[in-house]
């Protein structure tokens, strides 16, 4: 069943009047709610006859070549494996507006849950100094969370299932300052949760850059990022 509010959001999404931010959240919600997805697809399918009225236009000769050039630097992503909201796991599914609200705050909630669970003690020496949400620059979607501690270690939570081809690794980097340049914090064989010990560096600071690149295994040959950047983000100091 769709409520009036849901109907408004479905028509806003399909007609294109929804704001970009709301559209991103709505798409995340669709990934988790097959019923909603079916209702959206149904309306989109009905309206699509209007797209078919557009008279095909000439495509400039060089356009495919430009696209092809970019493919080498664009790793393919895997299937989305969404974190189910904790409440859904406990109750075995729920519906309605609450699901929407949960989905909107899902990534934050999942991250907080993980960190709280992982550290166990709450406030204490294992509180992160900074946290960075790393996003895919192409579409702004969050791909990983980095939690950096005072002892040079970092926790990584992957939110996107990056495809790591044979012979490649994911490498995590930070930029403590421009003079030092990018420093490797370690490698991961695949998208996963992990703790990396990291080299001896100054305490991480707000605004510090973190990124994940795709490198030849076992690690970047130059000690600097050489492969495509999958996700990047700037650290913030958590409110504790």
């Amino acid at each position: 069943m769709s409520t009036n509010d849901e109907m408004d959001r479905i028509t806003g999404y399909v007609l294109g009047t929804m704001e970009a931010d709301a559209r991103d959240a709505f798409e995340a919600e669709m990934l988790r709610d097959a019923g909603l997805r079916a209702r959206v697809d149904r309306l989109a399918g009905q309206m699509s006859a209007l797209d078919d009225t557009a008279l095909p236009e000439a495509v400039p000769e060089g356009l495919w070549a430009q696209i092809e050039t970019r493919l080498g630097a664009t790793p393919q992503l895997g299937r989305v494996t969404p974190f189910p909201p904790a409440a859904a796991r406990r109750r075995g599914g729920f519906v309605g507006r609450q699901a929407a609200l949960m989905a909107a705050s899902l990534i934050v909630a999942a991250a907080v849950g993980y960190f709280a669970g992982g550290q166990g003690t709450g406030l204490g020496p294992r509180d992160p100094v900074v946290i960075a949400v790393l996003v895919n620059e192409a579409d702004g979607s969050p791909g990983a969370i980095v939690e950096a501690f005072g002892d040079d270690s970092v926790n990584i939570v992957s939110l996107e299932n990056f495809v790591v081809p044979e012979g490649k690794v994911l490498e995590v980097w930070t930029l403590p300052d421009a003079d030092t340049g990018p420093v490797s914090l370690g490698q991961l064989p695949q998208a996963q949760r992990a703790t990396l010990s990291g080299p001896n560096l100054p305490l991480p600071d707000a605004g510090q850059l973190y990124e994940i690149t795709l490198e030849d295994a076992p690690a970047s040959p130059t000690g600097r990022p050489t492969g495509p950047i999958l996700v990047k983000g700037f650290a913030r100091v958590p409110v504790l």
């Binding site: 109907m7 408004d8 028509t11 399909v14 007609l15 294109g16 009047t17 970009a20 559209r23 997805r37 697809d41 309306l43 989109a44 399918g45 009905q46 309206m47 699509s48 006859a49 209007l50 797209d51 078919d52 009225t53 557009a54 008279l55 095909p56 236009e57 000439a58 495509v59 400039p60 356009l63 495919w64 430009q66 696209i67 092809e68 970019r70 493919l71 664009t74 790793p75 393919q76 992503l77 895997g78 299937r79 989305v80 192409a138 579409d139 495809v163």
Partner: protein, 182 residues
Amino acid sequence: MLDRTADEANAWMARVAKGDRQALEMLFRSEAPRMMAVSRRIVRRTDLAEEVVQESFVTAWQRAAQFDPERGNARAWLTTIVRNRSLNMLRDGARVDHHDGETLEALGDRVGDAHDAYDRLPDRDALKACLSRLDETKRRSILLCYVVGMSHGEVAAKLDAPLGTVKAWIRRGMSALQECMA
């Protein structure tokens, strides 16, 4: 004929998900002319539509594994990507509005394009029949949003009606449309 093209597009997407660039090129050759046209109705300029199509095919490559043939065909999936990217570009006024001092209105007839899309719908199409049953104000509002990507505010200005009224037209119009097509 249409179904065969749709099946072909789905088969190409399955190959793209395995890293097959040739399959993406086949999809490009087949779909890009239509994507250009859908985008240009929204962004108005050929150069911007080219940029949208380029970004959309790179995204399709990147996200190929997320395409689910159970949900519909690859052409519909690509169209959604193109429409959303076009809308983002349109709403990013810095990109569209201020080029050489041109305004959107100077870049062709948005109202005319929206109306042409309606005129060109095949008479046997349920959408045509159901749109034709709506009041003209509701029909125009819906077409201006969907076909050329106008916001509620732009429709209100174009039809010289209060924003709340336009929103109500669209809500009631879409509700009637879906009932009619059910």
